[in-house]
Symmetry: C2
Subunit: 296 residues, 2 copies
């Protein structure tokens, strides 16, 4: 049966491969690495890039272990407080407003006594929603899911719609994607199947993001479109700081702040009560920031 | 005994006076007003400005009433769910990085059965901390407090230090100020005294802020100093969205989002793991973002 050390090394290799591919895609930026250690045990490799196409990006690996605080132990319904958690997290903010913000995460959690689960997902936040692009994105994720289990895509797509939701704006963060958590099985085959699924998700990241950089990375844009990007980024900040369970958990339990907040955008702008013409491209995008759209 | 209607009209006049003074100070910007009504009862007057000296500012008045959700009723330890709440809230983000961000709030809450309390405060977030300016600010607040009760300043100054604290950065939001909540008394004289204190706080706002605009509103600054302002504003965002109880409460209970988030800055920038020379002016400011500094 696959064990935590094997999962950890696969995640480390995934981080390496993704960073190498992103440097090639960007053509200029080089990842800067920070190694960090966690007080209670374990640590991570945070890698940040600021290049020609990626304005600000982070590709982080971590593998931490130790004892969970009582409050979290209770929340996770665990009997034992000893845990191990490893994962890769990515957020990329592009220069070009026609390239979407992308987020990917794959993770594995294990507690003493054999309890474990996998979690993760990929979701997209286009500054401008273009139907074919949204369709490509969701079809790619559906293919990844279907290769494992036909029931995954509809379930994990809905999960993403519900998770990446900015309640106080009554809008989704972007066009969603897939989100899953607490995937666990009582059999060795079941665990292996989940692990293969998580690997497929991790491997899907580069082909998907390359597509967006390739089609729009060099597209012309106006200052007004850049302003719109700053505006949409403010909503990204609001989601991450107000609603994202992972960010809140990290900040409240004393995780490495700079790694947790690598998801924050380079420049974001808040304008009071911004009026958007509903017939404009921007207005059309706002109109599609809702749950339950069947993009495939 | 002072009643809620008198408090409400005084707060409305305070908003009017402050807006008129700020327009005069700015010399160009004019407040734009949005009237809004709350579903459950009451409403507000949100006023926003974007001018020559104030890059983005909000001066909001509200008076809401109705029935509290059970969860909040329990949290506030109230027997009856009928409530009335009124207040004035201000946040100003200046163009000039040498002018501080300022925040002021005065509020009154009343529940059926005679339970009530006052709350509020003023706090300052300079992009660059200058000792004489910090001293002026705290001395002004101490004078306001001392006119009511000599015990207030030390108590409310410490409360602000503890409240305006960004735990995940291990730094205060700025140089603090005063913060108080749940001020209530069993006697009519006691209520009157608290009310006079709250009025003094409200009236202190313009003289204090005028000083900063007058001494630094036209001071020259570099692009690098503007960049530093964007950076410091990112911390302001983090405090408000992650730790500010008022913002969280508002967003979670379905308050008017645009009024609650009028505190957000016009432009903010996140840079991964920003390195600041501890000997620079910026580094000196960071060094003073801590609790317990006796500015007076």
């Amino acid at each position: 049966m696959i064990n935590k050390e094997e999962i950890k090394s696969w995640f480390m290799s995934l981080q390496d491969e993704i960073c190498a591919s992103l440097e090639a895609l960007d053509g200029e930026g080089i990842f800067r690495e920070d190694l960090w250690q966690r007080h209670g045990g374990g640590g991570g490799r945070s890698r940040a890039i600021s290049g020609r196409k990626i304005e600000k990006g982070g590709v982080n690996f971590s593998a931490v272990e130790g004892t969970l605080p009582d409050k979290i132990k209770a929340k996770l319904e665990l009997e034992n407080a000893d845990f191990f958690a490893t994962g890769v997290s990515i957020v990329l903010h592009p220069h070009n407003p026609h390239v979407p913000i992308i987020h990917m995460n794959v993770r594995y959690f294990e507690a003493d006594g054999g309890k474990y689960w996998f979690g993760g997902g990929i979701d997209l936040t286009p500054h401008y929603i273009v139907e074919e692009e949204a369709q490509f994105f969701h079809q790619s994720l559906k293919d990844v899911c279907d290769a494992s289990d036909k029931s995954y895509y509809p379930k994990f797509k809905k999960w993403a719609d519900d998770y990446f939701y900015i309640k106080h704006r009554n809008e989704t963060r972007g066009i969603g994607g897939i989100f899953f958590d607490r995937l666990n099985s009582s059999t060795s085959e079941g665990k292996q199947a989940y692990w293969e699924f998580v690997q497929r998700v991790g491997e899907a990241f580069i082909p998907i993001y390359s597509h967006f950089i390739e089609i729009n990375g060099d597209k012309e844009y106006t200052q007004q479109q850049k302003e719109w990007q700053f505006h949409r980024r403010s909503r990204y900040v609001e989601f991450n700081l107000v609603w994202d369970a992972g960010t809140k958990f990290g900040l409240e339990t004393g995780g490495r702040t700079e790694s947790i907040l690598m998801s924050m955008p380079p420049l974001a702008k808040w304008e009071y009560n911004k009026i958007v013409d509903s017939k404009s491209e921007e207005g059309q995008t706002l109109h599609q920031l809702k749950k339950g759209i069947d993009w495939v």
